[in-house]
């Protein structure tokens, strides 16, 4: 039993290590502005968000009852979240030279404003915003969403 636990711990440590290594190259954007309670949640941890923190693929950004946050993605997409809002970055690839382009995010609750960036111009079909009741597709645009 003890040896089993040791192996398990070693494996867990290995995986955790591998994940934190890849996380550094998975940066997809930054937190630009923060007001009130805002959290940046990754698979490993939940942090109080602060300006200029890096957002990684797979992260979730959440705001509290008085929180709001502004985000800038690497393809120039800008996003804002109002109070009690939550968004998850499911996939983000921005490599125009190799035609690797995609941006899928899940809007879980709250209010949002978006201005889409270069991925939506270069490959509009690869951009999706999933809400609980519908999926949004865009061609270079600014829009608002409220999930009530």
């Amino acid at each position: 039993m003890k040896s089993f636990l040791t192996i398990f711990c070693l494996l867990a440590a290995l995986f955790a290590g591998a994940e934190s290594c890849s996380a550094s190259t998975d940066s997809v954007g930054i937190i630009k502005t923060v007001s009130g309670e805002v959290f940046l949640v990754s698979t490993q941890k939940s942090l109080s968000a602060a300006p200029n923190m890096k957002i990684n693929r797979g992260d979730t950004i959440k705001t509290g009852a008085t929180g709001s946050v502004g985000l800038i993605f690497d393809d120039d997409t800008v996003v804002s979240l109002g109070p009690n809002s939550e968004i998850a970055v499911e996939s983000f690839m921005f490599n125009p030279v190799d035609q690797e382009l995609s941006f899928v995010s899940r809007l879980i609750k709250g209010t949002f404003c978006f201005v889409t960036g270069q991925i939506a111009k270069l490959a509009p079909k690869k951009v999706k915003f999933e809400t609980p009741e519908a999926t949004l597709g865009v061609r270079g645009t600014k829009f608002l969403v409220e999930i009530d």
């Binding site: 709001s68 800038i72 800008v78 209010t111 201005v115 270079g140 645009t141 829009f143 608002l144």
Partner: protein
């Protein structure tokens, strides 16, 4: 069994369940900062609507019910519902391309004249996140060009620092001849490739 339906607690529970399940999503199309209006589709199992006029909005009240026919909202309606996110939205990043005299870290006169615009962009965005990315053309060997593009990026960074931008706000990288703006053969002088891109976030 039928008496169950009459029990007030059951009716309450049912209402609560129904209320809890019924989410409502509103989607509003706006014109972009440059006045351009894009195109937005909203779809689910129930159907799909397309919007292309500014302030057009649709409401979705369930995964299986089609999004409502788009209607134009007034500015007051939009502000009442979305004032916080509209005020919080960051300004989009701005990109600048600066060009150099051949084989040097000296900016062309036109590019030199763009420096005040870059500084203004940094001020407008309150930016602490400025990328300076150096490139070269393919004249000369790879190592030479990597070094030259690095020196160009550093020269531009240095100017920004001298004009008051904190060093820690600037990230400088260099690509040598690996990332050409204009595709050329090796050993070709191309002024559009002798460049530094500055991105202000």
């Amino acid at each position: 069994m039928s008496s169950l339906y009459l029990k007030p607690w059951f009716a309450c529970l049912l209402l609560l369940l129904l209320y809890g399940c019924t989410q409502k999503t509103t989607v509003v199309l706006l014109s972009e900062p440059d006045g351009h209006v894009g195109n937005l589709t909203v779809g689910n199992i129930g159907g799909e609507v397309e919007m292309s006029r500014p302030a057009e909005a649709t409401v979705i009240s369930g995964r299986e019910s089609s999004p409502s026919k788009p209607e134009i909202l007034s500015e007051q309606q939009i502000n009442a519902q979305f004032s916080v996110v509209l005020a919080t939205l960051p300004i989009q990043p701005e990109h600048f391309l600066l060009y150099f005299e051949k084989g040097s870290t000296i900016l062309t006169a036109e590019s030199e004249a763009m420096l005040p615009m870059i500084l203004q962009s940094i001020t407008d965005r309150n930016s602490e996140n400025i990328s300076v990315i150096g490139h070269s053309d393919t004249a000369g060997n790879r190592d030479y060009n990597l070094r030259l593009s690095k020196e160009r990026a550093l020269a531009v960074s240095q100017v920004l620092i001298e004009k008051g931008t904190p060093r820690t706000h600037i990230t400088s990288t260099s690509h040598g001849e690996e990332n050409l703006l204009i595709k050329t053969e090796d050993n070709v002088q191309e002024e559009k490739n002798r460049r530094v891109e500055v991105v202000v976030k």
